[in-house]
Structures are given as structure tokens and as C-alpha cells.
């Protein structure tokens, strides 16, 4: 059909699809799923770091962390708005999340155990997110791509702050240096898993790339992240817990070991260290807030009623 041809031409030009444009149902569903998953990741991602706001060890760090977690709520807002341009409401998506029918990034199912984790999440987790997201600024769906531009700018800022926290701690006491290393040891492999399963085990990648929703394969992005992180670790003075990690001059890349994909699958299936906790937290907050949202909407109705009758 004409519409289909127009859509494909737009994609081929690397131009944006906009909300008013015709698009195949499968494309719409895939974009909704990906944007929602991304939005959920921002919201769930508030928990592991947010848990340390009340325990931040300096007032300066407390302000930085509070502002960062607030930014994540903001990212969630843009991304839910982007999804809403495709005709699904924030309320619906939230219900999909708390009923376990939509996913969020596997990384947030790992616990934060020390303040160093705040730095490590900034450095490695936000770093991995940026690797994933920078190409998404050129994603084919317009509102998503534009949201990503804003998100990426703030994420880079967060990543630098995380790295800076770790740098400062590495200049501190022996205990602090040990804290940083221990934290990096825990987060390295889960960070690598953030890019998803290996390419030969990632059935949706091909179609998403054809549609210009995704711009790179999982393994491609993972390699980029490893290559980027190794020199940063040297600057920091920490090591990664991977005996196979070494520079391969022939490939012009670092070789590295295989993540524990069984663990990854357990996490994706809901049996990770914190899946139940994260969803229960979101569900409780959502339910506890129901009466407030109802009150606000009842009040708005009354106000509208008054305006009409005036």
C-alpha cells in the first residue's frame, strides 16, 4: 500500500516517524514496548540509588544524589509521554509494570550494598545505558528520539558524577578503596548483561534494526562498553573481576569472558536478587497513592463543574 511504502521510505531515509504518521501495528507495538521498558527502567532505577539518599555521607553528595534520582523521575515522565503519543496511557503502562507484564532493565534487580554503589551505578550502569542510548537519539520514532537526546545529556552528567565520586573515594582511606573495588566487582558482570543476550540468542534484534528502532546489536554495544571502561578503570585504580579480560591488538578490541547467562535468564524470568522487592515497592507506592490521585481528580472535576456553572 501507499502508506506502507511511505513508512518504509521514511525509515530508509533515516528520517523520523511522527505520531500522526501511519505505521505498521507491529512497529507501534515494538516502539511502545521498548519505550515503556525504558520508562519503567528509569522509575525502578530510582529505588536502588534512592535507598542511599537518606544515608549520603556528605551534604554535597546528598544534594547530588537527590537531584540525580529526581532526574530519573523526570526521564520517566518524558518517556511515558513519548509512549502516550502512541495511544497508551501512563496508568496502563504502570499497571503493566506492577503486574509483571512489561520488563525493565535487568540491572536494577541487583541490590545496592554500600555507598560506593552509588558511584558504580553512575559510572558503569549509566555508562552502559549511555552506550545503549546514544544511538537511540537517532531512533526512527520521533518523540522517542527527542526524549533520548535530553535523557542522554543528563545521563552523561550523572556518569561523570559517579566517576568523580569513585575517584574521590579512591583518594580517601584504605577502607574506602576496598569499598569501591568490592562494588565494582559486584556490578561489572551485571553491567555487561545490560546489553541483553548474545546476538545469536536475540531474536528481535534483526526486525528492530530493520525498522531503525535499534541501531546496533547487543554484542556490538557490549564490546564498545568494555573498550570504553577498561581505560577508565585504570585511571580509577580498580580492576574488573574477569581473568579473560585483555587487549587483543589483532581485533583492536578487548577480549573478555562470558557473563553468567543462566543468572541473566533467572533475573529476566523474575527470580533475580531484587525483582520481587522492586515490584512490591512500586506496587505499594502506587496503591498508597491511589486515594491522592482520586482526590486530585475529584477536586478537578468539582472545579470544572464550578467553571461551567459560573
Amino acid at each position: 500500500t501507499d502508506l506502507q511504502a511511505q513508512f518504509e521510505a521514511t525509515i530508509a531515509r533515516h528520517d523520523r516517524i511522527e505520531p500522526r504518521d501511519w505505521m505498521p501495528d507491529a512497529y507501534r507495538r515494538t516502539v511502545v514496548r521498548q519505550v515503556a521498558q525504558h520508562a519503567h527502567s528509569e522509575i525502578i532505577g530510582m529505588q536502588p540509588e534512592g535507598a542511599w539518599i537518606t544515608r549520603a555521607p556528605s551534604l554535597r553528595r546528598k544534594a547530588i544524589l537527590l537531584a540525580k534520582v529526581q532526574d530519573e523521575a523526570g526521564h520517566g515522565l518524558y518517556l511515558y509521554s513519548a509512549a502516550e503519543t502512541l495511544g497508551v496511557s501512563r496508568q496502563e503502562l504502570t499497571e503493566m509494570l506492577i503486574e509483571g507484564r512489561q520488563k525493565y532493565s535487568s540491572i536494577f534487580n541487583y541490590p545496592t550494598l554500600s555507598y560506593a554503589d552509588v558511584g558504580t551505578i553512575g559510572w558503569l550502569v549509566d555508562g552502559a545505558a549511555i552506550c545503549n542510548q546514544v544511538p537511540l537519539c537517532r531512533t526512527s520514532y520521533g518523540p522517542y528520539g527527542r526524549a533520548m537526546i535530553r535523557v542522554c545529556k543528563e545521563e552523561s552528567f550523572h556518569q561523570r558524577q559517579g566517576f568523580e565520586l569513585l575517584m574521590t573515594m579512591m583518594r580517601g582511606t584504605d577502607e574506602q578503596r576496598a569499598m569501591v573495588q568490592e562494588s565494582v566487582d559486584r556490578f561489572w558482570w551485571p553491567a555487561l548483561m545490560m546489553f541483553g543476550p548474545p546476538d545469536d540468542d536475540s531474536p528481535n534484534t534483526e526486525q528492530s534494526m530493520a525498522w531503525g528502532i535499534k541501531r546496533n546489536t547487543n554484542d556490538d554495544l557490549r564490546q564498545r562498553f568494555v573498550d570504553m571502561s577498561v581505560p577508565q578503570a585504570e585511571v580509577l585504580g580498580v580492576t574488573f573481576p574477569d581473568p579473560e579480560l585483555r587487549w587483543n591488538a589483532e581485533r583492536g578490541h578487548h577480549d573478555f569472558g562470558t557473563p553468567d547467562w543462566d543468572e541473566f535468564m533467572a533475573v529476566v524470568k523474575g527470580n533475580g536478587p531484587c525483582n520481587a522487592q522492586r515490584i512490591a515497592h512500586r506496587q505499594r507506592a502506587h496503591e498508597d497513592g491511589a486515594w491522592v490521585r482520586e482526590a486530585a481528580s475529584a477536586f478537578a472535576d468539582k472545579q470544572r463543574g464550578l467553571e461551567v456553572s459560573a
Binding site: T54, S58, L59, L66, A67, Q176
Partner: protein
């Protein structure tokens, strides 16, 4: 100078403790917009606390706890993280648990109304640092007060449940209001504002006597246990 320091500590501790309470809402608010708004208020108060604690330390260095030699902890952090509960000068109003969203909004309304009245007076204070802090704070506190007042009216007139919860929150906090208003010498200005909000909301001023005693609540030491844990574990740490 000791008097100025004590006064700044009082203002700073109230801001620090209420900021902590507001930050507990993070990822727990009824909606993303409220999550962001509450974090804004918490950040503003945290900013006020930092300036006020630093001013207190400069005015009277003897208020700053002594740390192990070679500790790189700045004065604002020594004050926030290395004092015991009984050394804090905050008021019981800011210490008690958040309760539900209604009670949180009631506290924010009462607190920001009283503090705004005080900061308006302080903006011409003889100490230029304190007056500058107050000038900046007036803008922030006006926003907090308006935000809380909007929710106060919304909840009062929203649903039966929200009105009931609002009334319960007001009843719970009212006994602590007199102590706070007296400490801030808020005077009739604050009362006028409050009465306006109550009138718009259609809520009666509670008929409850002030709570006896002075000093702190049991909630404060629990709050500090959490707030200070990492800093205390690393008295020579750099952050």
C-alpha cells in the same frame, strides 16, 4: 556570635531534618509529578541547611564537633553527621514521621508558612550572610507554601477519604505548631496566611492544646541513625 550560631543551627537543623523526611518520599510519592516536587522541596531545604550550618560554624567554631586529626570532613558535614540527637536544635514538628501524603502536606504548609514569615524578617538582618540566605529562602519557601496550600485545599475538597486523612494529619501535627511558631517568632503574619488557607479549604482550626515538654522526639535519634551511618563509619573518609 554564639547567639547567631545557635540561631543559624536552629534554622539549619530544621531544614536538614525536614529535608530528610521529604526525601523519604523519593520513589514513594502518589505520582511522578509529586515525586519531583517533593524532591525539589527537599533540595531547597538541603541547600538552606548547608548555608546555615556553614554560617553557624563560621560564627562560632566551638559548635562544630571535633573529629579525629586529619579528617577532611568540612564543618557543614561535621555538624550534620557527627552530633548526637540531643545536640540538635530542630523542633519536634519536623522530626516526626511523614505519616501519609496528607500529613506530609499539612506539615509542609505549617512549616513553610512559619519559616517564610521569619525569613521575610530575616532578609533585613544585620548579618549579611544570614540576610542573603533569607532572601534566597523566601522565594523557595513561598513555592513550598503555595504547593502545600494547593494540596491542602485539594485534599480538603477532594473525596471523603482525603478530607478525613487531611483532618487526621492536621490533628496530629497541631499540638506541635505553637512550639514552632514561637521559636520562629512568626507572629500574626503566619496566622493570617494559615487562616486564609483553612478558610479556602473549609477546614476548622483544630481545638487541641499544645504538646507539653520541649526538646526532641524519639523519632529524631532513629532518623539520625540512618542519616549518619555512612559518615560515622568513615570519620576520615573523603566523599
Amino acid at each position: 556570635a554564639a547567639e547567631l550560631a545557635a540561631y543559624c543551627l536552629m534554622l539549619g537543623d530544621d531544614a536538614l531534618v525536614l529535608s530528610h523526611r521529604l526525601s523519604e518520599w523519593c520513589s514513594n510519592a502518589p505520582d511522578l509529578e509529586e515525586d519531583i516536587a517533593l524532591a525539589n522541596c527537599a533540595l531547597d531545604l538541603l541547600g538552606q541547611a548547608r548555608l546555615l550550618l556553614a554560617r553557624a560554624a563560621a560564627a562560632d567554631p566551638s559548635v562544630v564537633p571535633v573529629l579525629p586529626e586529619g579528617s577532611p570532613v568540612p564543618a557543614e558535614d561535621a555538624l550534620a553527621f557527627f552530633r548526637e540527637a540531643v545536640a540538635f536544635r530542630c523542633h519536634r514538628m519536623v522530626e516526626v514521621d511523614n505519616g501519609d501524603f496528607a500529613q506530609t502536606m499539612v506539615r509542609l504548609l505549617l512549616f513553610s508558612t512559619v519559616r517564610l514569615a521569619a525569613f521575610e524578617q530575616l532578609s533585613t538582618h544585620a548579618d549579611p550572610v544570614l540576610s542573603a540566605i533569607a532572601v534566597k529562602g523566601v522565594k523557595e519557601l513561598s513555592y513550598h507554601r503555595d504547593y502545600a496550600a494547593r494540596w491542602f485545599v485539594t485534599l480538603a475538597q477532594g473525596t471523603e477519604e482525603s478530607a478525613r486523612r487531611l483532618a487526621a494529619g492536621l490533628d496530629a501535627l497541631w499540638p506541635l505548631y505553637a512550639e514552632l511558631a514561637a521559636a520562629y517568632e512568626a507572629g500574626p503574619a503566619a496566622d493570617v496566611v494559615l487562616d486564609q488557607v483553612l478558610a479556602v479549604a473549609g477546614v476548622e482550626r483544630p481545638d487541641r492544646p499544645p504538646r507539653a515538654g520541649t526538646g526532641h522526639t524519639e523519632a529524631l535519634s532513629r532518623l539520625l541513625a540512618e542519616m549518619q551511618v555512612v559518615a560515622r563509619a568513615h570519620p576520615r573518609g573523603q566523599w
